[in-house]
């Protein structure tokens, strides 16, 4: 009798613990099995790598993912329209860093805290501290200092995914052939940019973006920061036309004049291809090109590239930018979308994407011995993040208006010689002041 009782209690205990175990082991994804998520991703090297990894998510979780892929500057219109509907089609979007404040100002994004406090959703091994500070702060946080930097009033709205900083790529073979020193400062680099035309027929110096609008503005910012300039001062007074701003534009003009033909019409893709097709000796832009540069299908310069930090001007200040992913406030499947966001930016997936040619977002990926063996430039890149400028451009909600249609036009006119730099900058001053006044930046100044 006693034995029977004991046996029963053991069996009962075993059943209870088994039940508890199965409940604990039930995948957090089970609840969302069969859901289809619609995501909006850009046509971009990082996201090409993501496309190779994405089927694993569906295999692991049973959640299907439909990708709406667009040219990256064209995503903005569609996202704004989609996200301002009562219920939108997108469950997860990839946004360019410069749209984050505007989206938050318009209440278009879900804050991420409610998901991270939900134990059923948040993975305890996610390790957000491992995500590069130079990425998560400028890309993900809105509402802190100046409205777009970290600070106690800030909150997390997105996670970096395909974010970038700038590095210098150079042709090892050409530099060795002519016994050239890899530039560490702006003076050294500017000294080199016009030399290649004579040294190597058919080759130009430094490839650069230059197309009117966002592209030429981006190229100018790349030089403005190291030279110590800013677009606004701390009281939102426009100072883009300071001596540093003008010097940055002069440097850019020289770079474009000695760069690949047609540079004043180059967007990111044309700029990148000129380097990958062997038409330029140097590249100074996003790290995102590194994967493609070693892919023989896309690059003619495999094995010939050396990488170095963004040269130092007055200061060391490499770019912070690229993409982040966020959940639209009007998504129908926010929780499943969060699971996808978390999966994509997890340690394991970050490594997988890196192996497929994408740009990592985590320090652990850059320090991974296996990856460092495959990508010898990883330790250098990891180092480059220390020099990243968090306040690289004013990521205010009005940046869209200031950037492409205003600064981007003035710079393009200066680069193509229609106006002098000083004239072009002066001509847009009234418009810049008008935009800032209308937005209320000067209403608090006494």
């Amino acid at each position: 009798m006693r034995i029977q009782k004991a046996l029963t209690s053991v069996a009962l205990g075993a059943a209870v613990s088994l039940l508890a175990l199965t409940t604990a082991l039930a995948s957090p994804y089970d609840k969302y099995k069969g859901t289809t998520l619609v995501v909006n991703f850009p046509a971009h090297p990082h996201y090409d790598a993501v496309a190779k990894v994405l089927p694993d998510f569906t295999k692991e979780t049973g959640i299907k993912v439909e990708v709406d892929k667009l040219q990256y500057m064209r995503m903005h219109d569609k996202q704004v329209l989609e996200m301002s509907k009562p219920q939108g089609d997108y469950d997860l979007i990839s946004y360019v860093i410069m749209w984050k404040t505007e989206y938050v100002a318009k209440n278009l994004l879900s804050p991420l805290a409610p998901f991270f406090v939900n134990a059923a959703l948040a993975d305890p091994d996610y390790d957000p501290e491992d995500i590069l500070k130079a990425y998560i702060e400028p890309v993900g946080i809105v509402g802190g200092k100046k409205g777009y930097l970290t600070g106690v009033t800030g909150a997390l709205y997105g996670v970096p995914f395909g974010s970038e900083t700038s590095v210098l790529g150079y042709r090892k073979d050409i530099f060795a052939k002519h016994n050239l020193k890899v530039p560490e400062t702006y003076d050294e680099m500017m000294d080199l940019v016009c030399k290649f035309k004579d040294l190597e027929p058919g080759m130009s110096g430094l490839t650069s973006r230059g197309a009117a609008g966002h592209q030429v503005g981006h190229a100018w910012l790349l030089h403005l920061n190291p030279l110590g300039g800013t677009v606004f001062d701390d009281h939102w007074k426009p100072v883009y036309d300071s001596p540093e701003g003008i010097k940055a534009a002069q440097y850019l003009k020289k770079i474009l004049d000695c760069g690949p033909e047609g540079g004043t019409a180059f967007g990111f893709d044309e700029m990148k291809n000129a380097f990958l097709q062997g038409k330029a000796a140097m590249y100074l832009d996003s790290v995102s090109v590194a994967g493609e540069a070693e892919n023989p299908e896309k690059s003619k310069i495999v094995g010939k590239i050396g990488w170095a930090p963004h040269p130092k001007g007055k200061v060391k200040a490499s770019q912070t930018g690229g993409f982040g992913i966020a959940i639209p406030a009007n998504s129908k499947n926010k929780e499943a979308a969060f699971l996808l966001l978390q999966w994509l930016t997890s340690k394991a997936t970050d490594k997988k994407i890196a192996l497929a040619g994408g740009s990592p977002s985590r320090m652990s990926t850059y320090l991974d011995p296996e990856l460092q063996k495959k990508f010898p430039y990883y330790p250098m890149f990891a180092e480059a993040f220390k020099a990243a400028a968090y306040d690289w451009r004013p990521l205010i909600a009005e940046w869209g208006e200031l950037n492409a249609p205003t600064l981007g036009v003035a710079l393009s006119e200066a680069m193509t010689g229609k106006k002098t730099i000083e004239q072009a900058f002066a001509d847009i001053k009234p418009r810049v002041v008008e935009i800032m006044t209308k937005a209320g930046y000067y209403s608090w100044s006494k």
Binding site: V80, K106, F266, E401, P405
Partner: protein, 333 residues
């Protein structure tokens, strides 16, 4: 068109009116009933027109009215519609203060008039050239029409690749011939020309088709008469064919002109308005104001200005063609 309107009014009394009563006597029809019936008869055509009018009202008038209303509001894209604030004439005044709007208007006028003049000259010339029966002509005709069939976005991409200074076919040819690289899309001076070339390539066939149709429907007697009078080919073209084709050419020109003012996709893809503002036509500027700067009110104000320009041009061309017609009629009498 008034001519067709005249014809309609002429024709209507001839045919039996809708719902007309048969002519046999009706003893019980009073005067009032008859009047009611007449009213009904008269209003029947309008009743039938009503669905079409309602459709036009909703589809055509509503957007225009809405755009006029919006042009007096300050409203940002992505914000709730309730957040729109009435701002009076501010949108219009700020446009008039903006030098970029003047530049953009200049670019639009240059672009539209240049492409239309080139397309009309080329289209008509081609039609006159290909009118004569030459072997394989039908093949030529088909080939000439092809560009018009291609989607504008594809046209933009094709030309962008061809114009590429690094890898484009045009510069490869230019370099092989010894001209050297041409900065097709990267210089302020060339970009507009390059865009014009692409548009002429795409839309000359439109004029060509219409001119061809006009040529084929010309009265053979007139051409015969000219030949009997001893006119040579050139004289026949200049004094007989072209004047007779004129109504068609004018309509085709008008259609192309209106279209040229609204062109967007090809330029958007090829240059996105750059370098500087050298190819930023008004429709692209409107698009950017609405979707990049996100000022819907300002964009509406600008599109209303564009509407006024196109309307003024259409009226001017219409009046001009009317005057010509009247003159031609006088000469004929």
């Amino acid at each position: 068109m008034p001519t067709t309107a005249d014809q309609t009014t002429l024709h209507v009394p001839q045919g039996p009116a809708l719902g007309d009563a048969p002519s046999r006597p009706r003893p019980h029809t009073g005067r009032r009933a008859r009047r009611g019936k007449r009213l009904l008869n008269r209003s029947t055509p309008y009743l039938f027109l009503l669905p079409a009018l309602a459709f036009m009202g909703v589809g055509l008038l509503y957007p225009v009215c809405r755009s006029v209303w919006l042009s007096f509001q300050d409203w940002k894209l992505g914000m709730a519609p309730e957040s729109a604030v009435f701002s009076g004439w501010e949108n219009y005044l700020s446009l008039l203060r903006d030098p970029n709007v003047y530049t953009s208007t200049g670019v639009t006028l240059t672009f539209a008039f240049t492409v239309v003049v080139l397309e009309v000259l080329l289209g008509v010339a081609l039609a006159l050239l290909l009118e004569r029966p030459i072997r394989g002509m039908s093949l030529f005709r088909t080939v000439f029409i092809l560009p018009m069939m291609v989607a504008p976005v594809v046209v933009g991409l094709i030309w962008r690749f061809m114009y590429s200074e690094q890898f484009g076919i045009l510069n490869k040819i230019a370099k092989a011939v010894g001209i050297g690289g041409v900065p097709w899309l990267s210089s302020q001076e060339m970009a507009l020309t390059s865009v014009i070339i692409a548009d002429v390539w795409q839309w000359t066939p439109f004029i060509f088709i219409l001119a061809m149709a006009a040529l084929q429907s010309l009265p053979a007697s007139a051409i015969e008469a000219a030949r009997v009078d001893g006119a040579n080919t050139w004289q026949t073209i200049w004094h007989v064919k072209l004047p007779l084709m004129m109504p068609v050419i004018i309509i085709a020109t008008l259609l192309r002109l209106i279209d040229a003012f609204k062109v967007l996709e090809v330029i958007y893809i090829m240059t996105d308005g750059g370098p500087g503002l050298s190819t930023e036509i008004l429709s692209l500027h409107i698009y950017k104001t609405a979707f990049v700067s996100q000022q819907l009110g300002r964009a509406s104000a600008l599109s209303n200005l564009l509407l006024l320009i196109v309307l003024a041009l259409s009226v001017a061309l219409f009046v001009f063609s009317k005057a010509r017609e009247r003159q031609a009629r006088k000469v004929a009498m």
